[in-house]
């Protein structure tokens, strides 16, 4: 059902522009990886704190507030580089299980980060039992790890 959409994506000039270049795909891919490192740092510093690890002398809210702009920056850079990477090979992606796993977990991870996880990090300590914080931190890590691993796996198919 979605195949015509992916075929249309393949016809767009941006993807064809990437395909036509020897260097563009690897360069965009590298920036995608750099942004992944930034996102990893900004997300996991908070997830670790939720799990009671890392910056455990600080309040969760402080760590989360400081990390947030960097998480958003990493996310924007990842999406902006991810789009041309996808447009250069939409049909391959359509038939890739890893791609669909990534496209399922990515929106979940993003929505989770800006709703449940954000509320838990800024809410006052009384309402946040340690167990709930730990659960949110572990879930966030698991989600982003899945997104990243599935993303890497697209290249193996």
């Amino acid at each position: 059902m979605l195949l015509p959409f992916f075929q249309w994506c393949e016809s767009l000039w941006l993807g064809q522009f990437v395909v036509g270049s020897l260097w563009l795909f690897p360069v965009i891919e590298s920036v995608h990886l750099l942004a992944l490192a930034l996102l990893g740092g900004a997300v996991f510093i908070v997830d670790f704190r939720l799990l009671g690890l890392g910056l455990k002398d600080r309040e969760v809210a402080e760590v989360a507030r400081d990390a947030r702009p960097w998480m958003i920056a990493g996310l924007i850079a990842l999406i902006l580089t991810g789009i041309p990477l996808f447009l250069s090979e939409p049909i391959k992606c359509y038939y890739s299980t890893a791609f669909w796993i990534k496209m399922t977990t990515l929106p979940i991870a993003v929505v989770f980060a800006f709703t449940v996880r954000w509320r838990v990090t800024v809410a006052d300590a009384v309402r946040n039992t340690a167990r709930r914080q730990q659960l949110v931190g572990a879930l966030s890590m698991a989600l982003w790890f899945t997104v990243a691993a599935a993303g890497r796996w697209i290249g193996f198919s």
């Binding site: 020897l22 690897p26 891919e29 590298s30 990886l33 750099l34 992944l36 490192a37 930034l38 996102l39 990893g40 740092g41 900004a42 997300v43 996991f44 510093i45 670790f48 690890l53 890392g54 910056l55 455990k56 002398d57 600080r58 402080e62 760590v63 400081d66 990390a67 960097w70 982003w144 790890f145 990243a148 691993a149 890497r152 796996w153 193996f156």
Partner: protein, 188 residues
């Protein structure tokens, strides 16, 4: 035995062939390398940004460094082990990759940067632990770390591409020299 001969011997070992040809083990090792990158380079980036006064401004630098250090070391160990395994799977081609050598050089520079930071700069942390704007030397070390780890990531990713492989000739003389390609003389 030359290093190239050693890599050729390594490539013929059972383990190397098994890893190279395995359907799942190689991608699993590669993915683990990437996941460890998120953690290790991610946390190194947080410390670098703190040194530059761009994040966690109210947190003492020593606290950021000490709380994250065990995890960055752990992440680095995972990166190193999986990196060695990736080399082990494809020894000859990797040994003759200019991107691999660029990565090794950047890694050595990054190690020197860490060493200088801990022996020259971090020893006087008490003087500026709470400062948002850290001393110039600390900021320089943070920026150098960001640039070097970025370069290591890019060079590492580029190893996968074969533009400068020895079996694709002719290559510029510099590439053949840097990669240590064994190029047969042109037949007249």
């Amino acid at each position: 035995m030359s290093l190239l001969a050693y890599c050729e011997w390594l490539a013929a070992t059972e383990g190397s062939i098994a890893l190279h040809e395995s359907m799942y083990m190689y991608p699993i090792v590669e993915s683990t390398h990437v996941l460890a990158l998120m953690l290790f380079v991610g946390f190194a980036t947080i410390l670098d940004l703190r040194l530059l006064g761009l994040i966690l401004k109210r947190v003492p630098v020593s606290q950021v460094a000490e709380r994250l250090l065990p995890w960055t070391i752990g992440g680095f160990v995972v990166m190193f082990i999986t990196g060695v395994l990736l080399f082990y799977a494809i020894p000859v081609r990797t040994y003759q990759s200019i991107f691999f050598w660029a990565k090794v050089i950047f890694l050595i520079l990054a190690a020197i940067n860490v060493w200088l930071f801990h022996t020259r700069i971090f020893t006087r942390i008490a003087e500026w632990d709470h400062a948002v704007i850290t001393p110039k030397a600390a900021r320089r070390a943070g920026l150098a770390s960001l640039v070097l780890w970025g370069a290591i990531i890019v060079a590492g990713r580029m190893i996968a591409y074969n533009w400068f492989d020895c079996d694709i000739q002719p290559q510029p003389a510099f590439v053949n020299w840097a990669a240590g390609c064994v190029v047969p003389p042109p037949t007249p």
